[in-house]
């Protein structure tokens, strides 16, 4: 069977409504690579008969379809699954094996980790939400409890309370006194940890699936029965102060980040570090911790994510027997955050520190997050920042490192996981000369993108890279469970999580230019300079001079 010719008239019937996946070759008659691929395409059609339909579409005769599917070069191969473009390849795959290899690969990824549905979601009668994702590769589970309460939900003046409580959660309940929680999990061969962010606090165990119910009993127990003494509070406060010293006081880059965030969000709680300010950590009391616990820790403010060698029915039964027995707490309210009144002005922070090692440049922009963005906007920011900020192929590294040689490294990232705001962060380490030149070079790169947009090939490369990230993170239980947990904690749906690769695939050059113009806006940014103290110079500089001499 040869690859059949279709047209705009038959596209809907042949492709969109097809029960089987469809490979569409967008081609033109004058394109030599298209002609070169034609025999391979026919052979592939033969080999895939009954599983994947193979068709071809002349874009000169059907220009509207090419536009709709953002095909600007020929040949372009699109694999449609359930009527949606699930994968794209620009350029010819002129040999049968190569073509088949690509089709089989993307078809399988579309089924298993791409558009395929993996998660099941339900709610217990007390309001606790549950997400189950099956992965039967090893007889283990990842069990996570997410509370919709984080550092930004604490009272002003008591910064760090959410994180402090996270530490105290490992103290006592009647059933598991004196730190027995961690010891019990470990004795069962489990690993455990917890983390606090601005919006959520999460506790997780990874363990043999035989012990899932025990984990549920233990997490349910400490959700409502936690106790700790004044002495434990006093000792744990010292531990947190050591943690702060280790990660912030002794680390100039972390301190710059802390100052930049405080400047970027002067009135919103995101400007306060999750771990808290040192002088406020020193005042945190047992009552502060208990108050936060009672206000926020309850099944109706929690999300359970179970991933691993389990079935949704089994998890439902076990969850009902454990968490399901806890009463909902009517004192728990849906959190209400005020919106930031951002001063629309560029801000600057400079930190001089002898431990800085080398001079570096940072810039943060406050931008929409996935939770606050207009449809498609956050996805466009993800693609934009991959194009601008990829550490090896992005615009910044090309311009600053490869061409101008003003920086030794340059990168950028978009973080859109928080509830109230997203952040673009740009970073460059100065090579020779001053940070002025680095900053000017960064601004030139951003101006260019704002003015002229980005190329199709860059867009394709960025999308491929993001799609690969998505697939790779599906390999690891913790990362996959976290993907669902983060999203559900800020109100994103399972469907939005699982169709993210498709949403990324729909981003156009115009979308990218629009978000670049709107959000590379200095008035919503803070620029940070980290300088080794005067006179110390930078090791990087002296070494770089050394090799040229």
């Amino acid at each position: 069977m040869k690859a059949r010719e279709i047209s705009a008239d038959t596209f809907e019937q042949e492709v969109i409504l097809s029960a089987e996946p469809v490979l569409v070759d967008f081609y033109t008659t004058w394109c030599a690579p298209c002609r070169a691929m034609a025999p391979a395409l026919d052979e592939a059609a033969e080999a895939l008969t009954g599983r994947i339909k193979v068709v071809k579409l002349d874009i000169e005769r059907n220009p509207d379809l090419a536009k709709i599917h953002a095909v600007n070069r020929v040949p372009t191969l699109l694999l449609f699954n359930d009527g949606k473009a699930a994968a794209r390849h620009v350029g010819a795959l002129p040999r049968r094996e190569i073509l088949l290899n690509w089709v089989e690969g993307v078809n399988r990824s579309a089924e298993t980790v791409g558009s395929g549905r993996r998660a099941t979601e339900f709610k217990l009668s007390n309001g606790m939400e549950v997400v189950v994702i099956c992965d039967h590769r090893a007889p283990v589970v990842t069990h996570m409890v997410w509370y919709r309460a984080g550092a930004a939900d604490g009272r002003a003046g008591a910064s760090g309370i959410a994180h402090f409580l996270e530490h105290l959660m490992f103290k006592s309940t009647d059933k598991h006194p004196d730190g027995a929680f961690a010891k019990t999990v470990m004795q069962l061969g489990g690993q455990l940890n917890a983390f606090t962010s601005q919006d959520v606090t999460a506790y997780h165990e990874r363990i043999s699936k035989d012990h899932l119910k025990t984990m549920m009993e233990m997490e349910a127990d400490r959700m409502v029965n936690l106790r700790f003494t004044d002495a434990e509070v006093a000792t744990e406060r010292l531990v947190v102060l050591e943690e702060r010293r280790l990660h912030y006081e002794g680390n100039p880059r972390a301190r710059l980040t802390e100052k930049m965030n405080a400047t970027l969000y002067p009135s919103h709680p995101y400007g306060t570090p999750v771990i808290g300010w040192e002088h406020e950590i020193e005042t945190l009391s047992r009552d502060d911790a208990l108050d936060f616990y009672k206000r926020h820790y309850a099944p109706n403010n929690a999300l359970l994510v179970v991933l691993g060698d389990v079935s949704p029915d089994e998890v439902r039964r076990l969850a009902e027997e454990t968490y399901g027995r806890l009463p909902a707490n009517p004192q728990v309210h849906v959190r209400a955050r005020f919106s930031e009144q951002t001063p629309a002005t560029p801000r600057r922070v400079t930190l001089e520190d002898s431990r800085a090692g080398s001079a570096s440049f940072q810039r943060y922009y406050s931008v929409p997050s996935y939770a606050t963005a207009k449809p498609g906007e956050a996805e466009a920011l993800d693609v934009l920042l991959r194009i601008v900020g990829d550490g090896t192929t992005g615009r910044l590294v090309r311009s600053l490192v490869v061409e101008d040689k003003v920086a030794a490294a340059a990168s950028g990232n978009y973080s859109g996981i928080l509830l109230d705001s997203g952040t673009i962060s740009l970073h460059a380490v100065a090579s020779h000369g001053s940070l002025d030149r680095v900053e000017a070079a960064v601004d030139r790169v951003l101006d260019e993108v704002r003015t002229n947009g980005v190329s199709e090939i860059e867009i394709e490369r960025a999308k491929t890279s993001l799609r690969a990230d998505y697939a790779f993170s599906g390999d690891e239980q913790e990362k996959l469970a976290a993907r669902y947990g983060w999203a559900r904690s800020v109100g994103r749906t399972i469907d939005q999580v699982e169709t993210w690769p498709e949403a990324i695939a729909r981003v156009t050059a115009r979308d990218i230019k629009a978000v670049a113009s709107a959000h590379f806006d200095e008035r919503h940014s803070v620029t940070g300079w980290l300088l080794p103290e005067c006179g110390t110079g930078s090791t990087a500089q002296s070494s770089a001079q050394g090799q040229t001499s």
Partner: protein, 427 residues
């Protein structure tokens, strides 16, 4: 675990775990060598080579190479350890063959373009500068220098401010020609690939490498056993402490008992004695841990923690006391059973992702374990007896042999006063 041993036509041996849940292939491989084979006075060559291997090959300059990798969904990286140069190749199944071709280019025709070498050298210089300002890294580097004085393990893997400028492009080329060879190559593959496909890939990628590596022989290293303390003066709010002593190699009958012992002492996170005594009971540190670090030519039990300058002496006393208690046999069956229970029960957690399985298996191959060790390991751990652990503790955990280094301005008031090594200033 179903580990198949696959041998290619040219004789390259790989371990394979076929796994098709996720459409990706994780290939991990290692060549003997690492920083131990850096030429005299040129520490850092292996690190710079490993950075350069993904910075252009064949007709592709660095940028073109990286773009090609991105387009193929390939994550390719190399890093130098003390004993091996390790490669990591992860790709979606859809572009496996093209990605393999790129890998072949990287290891057989790397380009050491002058401007790219200059850039990567500068990046390494920045890493070195950062490490020299990071108290934890300073304490560990000083520990290696002190404990392994006179041996190649005393040198920092990433090199120093002095050695880096001395490395020439021809040093890089010499190193890769000496080290990248078939006789010490170890490969593991996990994921969406059949044995036949893997055989072909092995020959395609590695088949044209030289048959044998050309190594400088390296002797066994034992950390100094007389005990020693050294301080590197640094103006930091929290001092970093590194400590350690001689341990046993992986194929020594005492290794598994020592491994369990380490878990009790400081390897077991919250459940470990050091974490309980130093963090939970006294609030002296956010984190303290120990590990047995076996390498090709040495094995040490080492640990570290951070604490305020004024509590370094107190915390070290606690550490020494815990070494002493275990050395005197103060460990009971329940604590041993809890440790074994964790180590046995948690073993499968390292095998739940293709990339994790690959990393685990490469670790076993590097230590010359047979592939059935994965299935035997838990039974062998289960058979470790209390008597054996006590015996190993008595011989191993002598606090008088501890080598301790501190970066900071510590008060060592309650620490003993042995011959202190001369202070080194990093200011």
């Amino acid at each position: 675990m179903n580990i198949e041993t696959v041998t290619s036509a040219s004789g390259i041996v790989a371990w394979l775990v076929e796994e098709r849940t996720v459409p990706l292939i994780a290939l991990r491989f290692a060549f003997d060598g690492g920083s131990a084979q850096d030429p005299e006075g040129k520490a850092g060559v292996s690190s710079l080579v490993s950075q350069m291997l993904s910075q252009g090959a064949g007709e592709l300059n660095a940028l073109a190479f990286q773009e090609r990798a991105r387009d193929l969904t390939l994550r390719l990286g190399f890093h130098a350890g003390m004993d091996a140069l390790i490669g990591s190749f992860t790709v979606l199944s859809e572009s496996r063959d093209d990605a393999a071709h790129l890998l072949k280019l990287a290891i057989t025709q790397p380009r050491f373009d002058l401007d790219t070498v200059a850039r990567e050298r500068e990046r390494l210089a920045i890493s070195i500068a950062r490490a020299e300002k990071d108290p934890g890294a300073v304490a560990r580097a000083r520990w290696n220098a002190l404990a392994f004085a006179g041996h190649v393990y005393a040198r920092p893997i990433i090199g120093t401010e002095e050695t880096l400028p001395k490395i020439s492009t021809s040093d890089l080329d010499d190193y890769r020609r000496r080290v990248l060879a078939k006789d010490t190559l170890r490969v593991v593959a996990v994921g969406d690939i059949t044995p036949d496909q893997l055989r072909k890939l092995l020959d395609d990628v590695f088949g044209s490498l030289p048959a044998a590596a050309d190594f400088v022989p390296i002797g066994r290293a034992h950390p100094i056993s007389t005990g020693s303390e050294a301080v590197v003066e640094m103006d930091v709010p929290e001092a970093a402490v590194a400590f350690g002593l001689d341990a046993v190699s992986q194929h020594d009958p005492d290794y598994l008992p020592a491994f369990v012992l380490n878990h009790v002492l400081g390897g077991g996170g919250f459940s470990s004695r050091l974490m309980q005594e130093v963090r939970v009971k006294r609030g002296l540190s956010y984190s303290i841990s120990t590990a047995i670090a076996p390498s090709r030519h040495a094995s040490v039990l080492r640990g570290g923690f951070g604490t305020r300058n004024d509590t370094v002496g107190v915390a070290l006393d606690v550490v020494r006391t815990e070494f002493m208690r275990l050395a005197k046999g103060e460990i009971g069956q329940p604590e041993l059973d809890a440790a074994k229970s964790y180590l046995i029960g948690s073993y499968p957690l390292g095998f739940d992702a293709n990339t994790k399985i690959a990393a685990q298996l490469l670790g076993l191959r590097l230590a010359d374990y047979p592939s059935d060790f994965v299935d035997r390991r838990n039974a062998e751990l289960g058979a470790v007896t209390l008597e054996h652990v006590k015996d190993v503790a008595r011989r191993l955990l002598d606090p008088d042999t501890l080598v301790v280094t501190v970066a900071g301005n510590p008060e060592l008031r309650s620490a003993r006063q042995p011959a202190r090594a001369p202070d080194v200033s990093a200011a």
